[in-house]
């Protein structure tokens, strides 16, 4: 199969420190911290009060509108507090539910299940919403919305590229749960009436490729080996690599007849269908040079970062704790927050690695122009940003920026392009609304 290489991109050291460590299930924490805003779109509406007792898997918040999913209690316990806290991703205050675990892990009675192949497309979609499934790659977009495309979709692509340095959870998922992932892929294809299922995996994960081939081939899933290049896992670039189709500027994958789901998401869908499990647990990588033992773990949503980081024994010099990987992840100010549905990893980096040199003048070295996978001119956009030329930025395709950080990674003048572009996008969106 021909793989279409996208132009641009970078090759940061992949540093897949935990690629050989089996995903282990960690013991339950004492307290769990859950933001209601676990998904993009509308946060769900709380249906319990402070003081209520909840059981594992019990719904504690109801979806609010179509682009929203319910939230379930990850443990059996008591809701001790509902407060406003700064959300690490948006930086704004958001509703936070604190659950204290009491005694045994007692599951709520789950809905009756049947083999995953017996569901009708509508039943699949319903189950996916009810299970609170969102994109587990980090974008947290409600999955059922993707399963109801308004255009004809004939191809499902399972995203196992995992191009972000350090992160290995998708890699391990594919090695250890290839069968469940592939079954999830089959269910996705059934729900949207697609005929082709493919899985894209970067070539630096030979064991994952092998496991997926073994599990997927009998189900008619084609495994595509992709070159190792950042950001190969970007949805639009993955689609291009496999189909040569470019998702139109401002459009969605369904515009080219494709739906992309992360491999972990596919597994969650299978689990929801076959066992009726809501999404209360996810796999994630705890990694980075800031800790001694990088590992992959299954942790309940809401598990405090402090427990996960301490489990991996942080070093003295650890300085930056990042939700996600080092290219696109966000830093946290305190470890007293819980992991969310979108936390694909916790990367802990020492001071020596992240010390940022001061910003100097752009020398138009074109490194950013070469690195940009979307063929933008980051140096020029940044210059416009400095002059507050937001309309000009928009007409120079600012909104097509995928915020991958390749430009800032290579910039010899240490310019924070991504930070500027995120701000500019907000301004453009706000201006557009007026």
């Amino acid at each position: 199969m021909i793989v279409w290489k996208f132009k641009g991109g970078i090759h940061p050291p992949t540093k897949k420190l935990a690629k050989d460590s089996k995903i282990e299930r960690i013991s339950l924490s004492k307290r769990f911290y859950l933001f209601l805003a676990q998904n993009s779109g509308n946060p769900p509406k709380l249906i319990v009060q402070a003081g209520s007792d909840v059981k594992t898997g019990q719904k504690i918040a109801e979806a609010d509108g179509f682009v929203s999913v319910p939230l379930h209690s990850p443990v059996t316990g008591k809701i001790v507090e509902i407060k406003k806290e700064k959300h690490p991703v948006t930086g704004r205050p958001a509703d936070l539910v604190v659950i204290e675990r009491t005694g045994e892990d007692e599951w709520i009675k789950l809905d009756p299940v049947k083999p995953y192949t017996d569901y009708t497309p509508d039943e699949i979609k319903k189950r996916v919403v009810e299970a609170g499934i969102v994109g587990l790659g980090g974008a947290t977009f409600p999955t059922h919305v993707k399963l109801a495309p308004s255009k004809k979709v004939d191809t499902v692509i399972l995203n196992g590229a995992e191009c972000e340095p350090y992160l290995t959870i998708d890699h391990r998922m594919m090695v250890e749960y290839a069968d469940e992932i592939c079954k999830g892929g089959v269910a996705i294809a059934k729900a949207i009436g697609a005929t082709k299922i493919l899985a894209g995996i970067e070539e630096n994960k030979p064991d994952a490729i092998e496991a997926m081939k073994k599990a997927g081939t009998p189900m008619g899933i084609e495994i595509v080996v992709l070159p190792t290049k950042y950001p190969q896992g970007s949805e639009k670039h993955l689609i291009y690599a496999i189909t040569k189709k470019q998702v139109p500027s401002g459009g969605l994958p369904m515009d080219v007849g494709v739906v992309v789901d992360n491999v972990s998401t596919a597994r969650a869908i299978y689990r929801a269908l076959e066992y009726g499990e809501p999404l209360i647990e996810r796999g994630l990588t705890v990694t980075g040079e800031g800790i001694k033992t990088s590992k992959n773990v299954f942790a309940r949503i809401g598990t405090p970062l402090s427990d996960l980081v301490n489990l991996a024994s942080p070093i003295e010099d650890a300085q930056r704790v990042i939700l996600g990987g080092p290219m696109t992840g966000v830093t946290v100010e305190s470890l007293d927050i819980g992991i969310s549905k979108g936390t694909s990893g916790i990367t802990v980096l020492p001071a020596a690695l992240v010390n940022k040199m001061t910003e100097t003048n752009c020398i138009r070295c074109y490194r950013c122009v070469e690195a940009c996978p979307t063929q933008l001119e980051p140096y020029l956009l940044y210059k416009m940003f400095k002059k507050k030329m937001f309309n000009e930025m928009k007409s120079d395709h600012l909104m097509d920026c995928i915020e991958c950080g390749a430009c800032a990674y290579v910039c010899p003048a240490n310019i924070d392009h991504v930070k500027a572009f995120k701000t500019a996008k907000l301004v453009v969106r706000t201006l557009g609304r007026r």
Binding site: K244, T331, L353, C365, Y409, V410, K419
Partner: protein, 329 residues
Amino acid sequence: MKLLTGPAPHIHDRISTRRIMLDVLIALTPAAVLSVLMWGWYMLLLEIGSMAFAEFLEFFVMRVFRKKKDFVPDLSASVTALLLVFNVPAGISWWTMTTGILVAIIIGKEIFGGIGNNPFNPALVGRLFMYISFPVAMITWPAVDLFHFWKPAYDMATTATPLGEAKLHGVVAASQLFHNLSWTSFLGIIPGSAGETSALLLIIGFLYLWWRKIVSYEIPVAYIGTTFVLSAIFWLANPSAYYDPLTSIMVGGLMLGALFMATDPVTSPVTPRGKWIFGIGAGVITVLIRYIGAYPEGVNFAIILMNALVPFINQFTKRRVFGTVKENV
């Protein structure tokens, strides 16, 4: 554990502007060593002295006039100074050189706002100023005197350069003066500006930069290729009046200009297509000045002229943004 926050990406490839400039200096070192071998201690003094003076000037301007308390030199002034020394005859007086550096750094660079903001290559601005202000000094070429380190360049016998001689007395006369010209100019044992003589050493330096991914090949290939093709046309039309194309690309300042001056990132286009246009344009102007204009060499003018067009070239050579194809196949 004290947590610090910051924007993504949290890692960096650790290549800074200073590192890039250091690499350029490393790439220029072979040619600098050859110039010292050919013209002795005075050459070494010019090179080191000019770099030091240029760094001092930039430091002074940034700290005193622009009040940038945290300014740390990034070696770009040294690159400008070394390139300027490479572009003048070895026997130039120290005060002429000093004036040139002053103009290059202050007028060529700092008045526009320092590194990254200058529209023209500062070293070429300095050279153009010297060329016009000190016309005699700028065409007084000391003869090559290999391995006489203690003999000052300003005391050496003067001679002609291949391009100057060809302009004055024709190619036939020049060929009698310079035997095996394509070989000597490839190796660089030939009179000329201090750092421009050796095509071989300059190419080695350029390949180092290319390997370090600091420069791209488009501009040099377009520039040298265009010069080669146009020179070949002139030569084929009248072989007795023009150098053959291979010699044409080796003599004069073309190699230095195409490999190190035209590729200055600040004053050249950013997209591959723009770089091709830039290189081809510079090649055309160079050949026209050499063969039709009044000056024996046109690299300096060609690059400065193309520098002026860079904003327009950048404007018209934007790439197609991912996702804006008209039709998906």
